[in-house]
Each structure stands twice: as structure tokens, then as C-alpha cells.
């Protein structure tokens, strides 16, 4: 059920984000979702791509500090309260969300959000038990 996310360390200086996207483009890798967490000194770029393993290899080869992180893709109704319903479930069951961001494409029946929590497998089980649809990595990469 897990989704592999690429995380890249970026210094806060011009041209770094462009460099990453250029490398991905040259290797014919398509970005499905992204988010940037930034501080005054550095940022972390998080990406869901169609070919995570290739992306990891090429970025590493180009000298970036990269890691693969497991996240969950959660589908929810695309209407007010859709995300709130999912977060309520996680909160009630004491899953601490480290970060989340929206997916660019849509799932079969609604919006998609990428969520990073601790105790990932338990969280997936908990969401499914509560009737939330969790999308697999293979499916997400191709959306």
C-alpha cells in the first residue's frame, strides 16, 4: 500500500529547484506531486514521480542528497470536509502527521492527498478499517 516518495536536500539558493527538475526531465521522469518544506537556510523537496527508483538513482548520481521515504496516498471525496474526515480518523487514533500535501491528479472517485505519518502500516490499516480508500504506489505513479 505504501508509496515511495523522493526527498531532496536543497540549499536556499537560486537555481537549485530548476536543477532537480531539469535532471528529471532529461531522464523522462514525470512529477506527479510535489511539496517544498523550507527554512531560512535550506529546503526539502518532496516528490512523487512515475519512476521513483530511477529518479533516486539519477539524482544521487548528480550529487544530490536524496532519500526514499514511504508515505501514504489517501483518496477522499472532493467536497468540503473531505480532508477533515480523514484527519479526524488519524487524530482519534493517535497518528501524528509529519506533513501532507495534495496530489496533482485525481483518483477514481475524488481528491488525493499524500500523508507522512509515523507507524505507517498501522495508519493504513486504520484508515481502511474506517472506510477510507488508500491508493497503492503503482497506481499513483501512473495517475
Amino acid at each position: 500500500m505504501k508509496v515511495n516518495q523522493i526527498s531532496v536536500f536543497l540549499e536556499n539558493k537560486s537555481g537549485r529547484l530548476a536543477a532537480v527538475t531539469r535532471i528529471l526531465a532529461e531522464n523522462n521522469i514525470n512529477i506527479r506531486a510535489l511539496s517544498i518544506a523550507d527554512t531560512s537556510d535550506f529546503g526539502i523537496l518532496r516528490l512523487i514521480v512515475d519512476k521513483p527508483d530511477t529518479a533516486f538513482e539519477v539524482l544521487k548520481k548528480e550529487g544530490f542528497s536524496v532519500s526514499l521515504t514511504e508515505v501514504i496516498g489517501v483518496e477522499m471525496p472532493d467536497r468540503p470536509g473531505g480532508l477533515a474526515g480523514v484527519l479526524d480518523i488519524l487524530e482519534k487514533n493517535n497518528f501524528n502527521i509529519e506533513y501532507l500535501y495534495a496530489f496533482i491528479g485525481r483518483g477514481d472517485n475524488g481528491a488525493l492527498v499524500i500523508v507522512r505519518v509515523e507507524r505507517l502500516e498501522e495508519a493504513v490499516r486504520c484508515l481502511e478499517e474506517n472506510g477510507v480508500k488508500v491508493v497503492t504506489g503503482d497506481r499513483l505513479y501512473q495517475l
Binding site: 536536500f9 540549499e11 527554512t39 550529487g63 542528497s65 532519500s67
Partner: protein, 433 residues
């Protein structure tokens, strides 16, 4: 004005005779009381009796900071601890500091040298000496303090820090002489301006005696203009005795070395061979009167030249130029000695096995700022901001506790720091001296 005219103006021939007598005693004392000196002299085939002229000093092996570290803490002392009345120490390259000990007589000599230095820099017993060198293990604070008391001046032992209070006290107590690092003097001037205190009207300062870090003629001009004083350069290092080894007179044209207590040599740092007078090289000092820690041919790593040309002030002691650099990679940050290897050790200790780091030194608002760039390798990289910030903080705290000064840590991408063949470039010093 002299403190001790007889010795400060001793004709050079008499001075040389005095040096030779004292050198013989020092070498003998070191040979018989310090196992390190005995073994290195024996290895070189030298006995104390072989010292027959001043030139024979070249037969003696050099002493390095490494030797002091290898004999940590008290191995280089020539007297039992019961004879030692004071211990100072300076930072070391790999965590082990350099320890120096003084007998009661050593403290006397040091006070004498510092009294001379203060007088040479314009002080009299009527002065109020505002001593903003740090008090503690660092020799700056107590060195100046004892000299000022010996002179009979009024000392304000204010130490460093809390600059607004420094300015308030300087104004209210009528300080006339400031002693501190040159960069701190500039910082004080800036704080005065912020506080609306006018150095020309509100402050009675006449002279400043500044040292413990490299500075330039430009910086002297700036200090003199901003504080409306005469700024004098003083030199010393704890391994030799502390501040007072050499000081400028009011002609401000080189620092007179207290040659009745030390022999100075200038050597080629590569070959160890002596250089002709006037040429720049590494300063090497031999103590002539020290009891606690006699030091023979100590390699300072400081680069300067020497002249014995007569000085209009009448002092006969040789003058050294300003220190223009170092033969090693030591940095002086806010008066504290910093070696890049200390930072490397900290990084290794926290498990960063391939440390790619760079030290960037800037001067902001006249204060030295050290920023340590650390490359975030894939191994160190964490996907969460919180964890990376924790990493940065941990590196910062560990470095600060190892160096004793505050630093900034900047996490940078891999390959940001230039790789070089052979010796890595570890330091970018943007300060202008």
C-alpha cells in the same frame, strides 16, 4: 617614559652578555628538571656545557605546541607543583589544551614586563586602566591586571562582555586607558555611538593597548579616530609567558621584545634555518628567566620580521613587525585560537565520517563571526525539517563546547565545498586586517 630604564635601554653588548648568562642557566634547569628537554637534547647530542655563545642556541632542538600537548598537563614544568602559584591554559588542537605554570617569581617577572608594556604604551600610575581582556584561564586579563597593579595605576577588572555597562563605567569612572582585543575596541566604539556617548566629550580615554589577535594599520586608524585615543599593539603568548612579550612604544614602529627575558629568533619555517635580520619568518622564543615552564626555542607559528635598528624612544630591545600571518592553519576568532582540526574532530565524534566542512570567518559589526559549513551527505540527510534542524543544532552545540566560542552552522548541499588535490581548503577568512 620607561618603567625600568636600566634594562629597557641596556646597551646591546651588555644585553647579549646578560642573555648568554641567563640562557646557560635556563638550559641547565631544563636539562636537569624536565625529562622532555633532557631526552631531546641527548638525542641531538647536546649537553648544557655545549652552550658557550648565543649562537650555540641553534644547536638546541625546537619545542612545539605538540611537545607541550604530549607532556600534558604538567610534564614540561621544571619545578614541583608546590612551587607553582598560578596555572593558565590555552585551547589545544585536538581537545587537549596547553597548560602553563608560573612560580611566584614568574608572576613577578610577568608583572614587571606588563608594567613596562603599559608604560611603553603611555600609561602612568595616575591612569584608570579599563581592563576588558577576559579574566580566567586566558592570560590576557590577569596578565594586564598584575602589570597595572605593579605600575600603581587604578585597575578596573571589568573583563569582557556586557558592552553597554562597559561604556557606562568608562564614562562614570573616568577610564583613561583601555586594554582589550582590537576588534572589541571597535565594537565598544560602535556601542558608544548607539548610546549617544561622545568619545571626545564624555569619555576620558587617552590610550588603548590592544592585542591577542591580528590587526592592521587601517584598523589602528579606525580605532584611534573613533575612540579619540592612541592605539598601541601588544604581543604575547601563554607558552612564552602571556601578554608583555613585546609591545610598541609611542613611535608605533614595531614592538620592542623584552630581550632581557627572552631570546627571539626568526627562522625559515620550512628548513628551520635562521633568517637574516629584516626578513619575514617564523618567530621562535626562548625564555631566559622562567622557572615554572622554561621554554626553549618555542615555535610560535607566527610570521614577523625583526630589527635591531635603534629606536628614537631610546629602548635598545629589538623590535618585531606586526604579525602578518601564521605558518599553520590556526585562526584567531575573538581572541580565541581555533584550529580547523578541532572542528573536524567534533564532526568525526558525532559520526560524520567523511567530514566535508569549511570555516568561513567574517567580521560583522566589528565582531568576528565563524560560520561552519557542513555538507549534508545522503547519510546525514533526513526527510524532516525538524531532524535536519536538530542535526544543525547538535553540530553547533558540540563545536561551541569544544572551542568555547559561539558559531553558526550552515547545512549545505554535497559538493558545495571545493575539493582540492592534497591539502583541503578548510578556511575562508573574509576579515580585512
Amino acid at each position: 617614559m620607561y618603567w625600568n630604564q636600566k634594562y629597557e635601554c641596556l646597551p646591546r653588548e651588555e644585553l647579549k652578555q646578560l642573555q648568554l648568562e641567563r640562557l646557560k642557566i635556563t638550559v641547565e634547569r631544563a636539562f636537569y628538571n624536565v625529562p622532555h628537554y633532557r631526552s631531546v637534547m641527548q638525542a641531538a647530542g647536546i649537553e648544557p656545557d655545549d652552550i658557550k655563545s648565543l649562537d650555540d642556541i641553534r644547536k638546541l632542538p625546537f619545542t612545539t605546541k605538540e611537545d607541550l600537548r604530549n607532556n600534558y598537563p604538567y610534564g614540561m614544568f621544571a619545578v614541583p607543583l608546590s612551587e607553582i602559584v598560578r596555572i593558565h591554559s590555552s585551547s589545544g588542537t585536538t581537545g587537549k589544551p596547553t597548560v602553563v605554570g608560573y612560580t611566584r617569581n614568574d608572576i613577578n617577572v610577568w608583572a614587571e614586563l606588563m608594567a613596562r608594556a603599559l608604560v611603553s604604551g603611555g600609561a602612568t600610575r595616575k591612569d584608570v586602566i579599563h581592563n576588558a581582556y577576559g579574566y580566567g584561564l586566558f592570560t590576557g586579563g590577569l596578565g594586564v591586571h598584575y602589570g597595572a597593579e605593579r605600575l600603581g595605576a587604578s585597575v578596573i577588572p571589568i573583563s569582557g562582555g556586557n558592552t553597554k555597562r562597559q561604556v557606562m563605567i568608562m564614562r562614570d569612572y573616568g577610564s583613561t586607558i583601555l586594554t582589550c582585543t582590537p576588534s572589541y575596541a571597535l565594537y565598544i566604539a560602535e556601542v558608544m555611538e548607539e548610546m549617544g556617548v561622545d568619545p571626545k566629550k564624555d569619555i576620558k580615554l587617552r590610550y588603548g593597548i590592544f592585542g591577542a589577535e591580528p590587526w592592521s594599520e587601517n584598523m589602528r586608524q579606525e580605532i584611534e579616530n573613533k575612540l579619540d585615543i592612541t592605539a598601541i599593539d601588544i604581543y604575547g603568548l601563554s607558552e612564552v609567558i602571556g601578554p608583555g612579550v613585546a609591545v610598541e612604544c609611542l613611535y608605533k614602529n614595531g614592538l620592542h621584545i623584552a630581550e632581557d627575558h627572552f631570546i627571539v629568533e626568526v627562522i625559515d619555517p620550512e628548513t628551520g634555518e635562521p633568517l637574516p635580520e629584516g626578513e619575514k619568518g617564523e618567530l621562535v622564543f626562548t625564555s631566559l628567566t622562567k622557572e615554572g615552564l622554561p621554554i626553549i626555542r618555542y615555535r610560535t607559528r607566527d610570521i614577523a620580521s625583526i630589527t635591531t635598528e635603534p629606536c628614537p624612544c631610546g629602548r635598545t630591545h629589538a623590535r618585531m613587525s606586526r604579525v602578518s600571518g601564521r605558518t599553520d592553519d590556526m585562526l584567531i576568532i575573538r581572541g580565541v585560537n581555533v584550529f580547523p582540526s578541532q572542528i573536524e574532530n567534533v564532526l568525526l565524534e558525532i559520526g560524520y565520517t567523511e567530514p566535508h566542512y569549511l570555516l568561513v570567518v567574517d567580521r560583522e559589526n566589528n565582531l568576528d563571526v565563524l560560520t561552519v559549513w557542513v555538507e549534508v551527505s545522503s547519510k546525514l540527510f533526513a526527510d524532516e525539517v525538524r531532524k535536519l534542524e536538530q542535526l544543525g543544532r547538535k553540530i553547533q552545540e558540540e563545536i561551541e563546547s569544544a572551542l568555547g566560542i559561539s558559531v553558526r552552522v550552515k547545512l549545505v548541499e554535497p559538493k558545495t565545498i571545493e575539493r582540492s588535490e592534497g591539502k583541503a581548503k578548510r578556511v575562508i577568512d573574509n576579515r580585512k586586517f
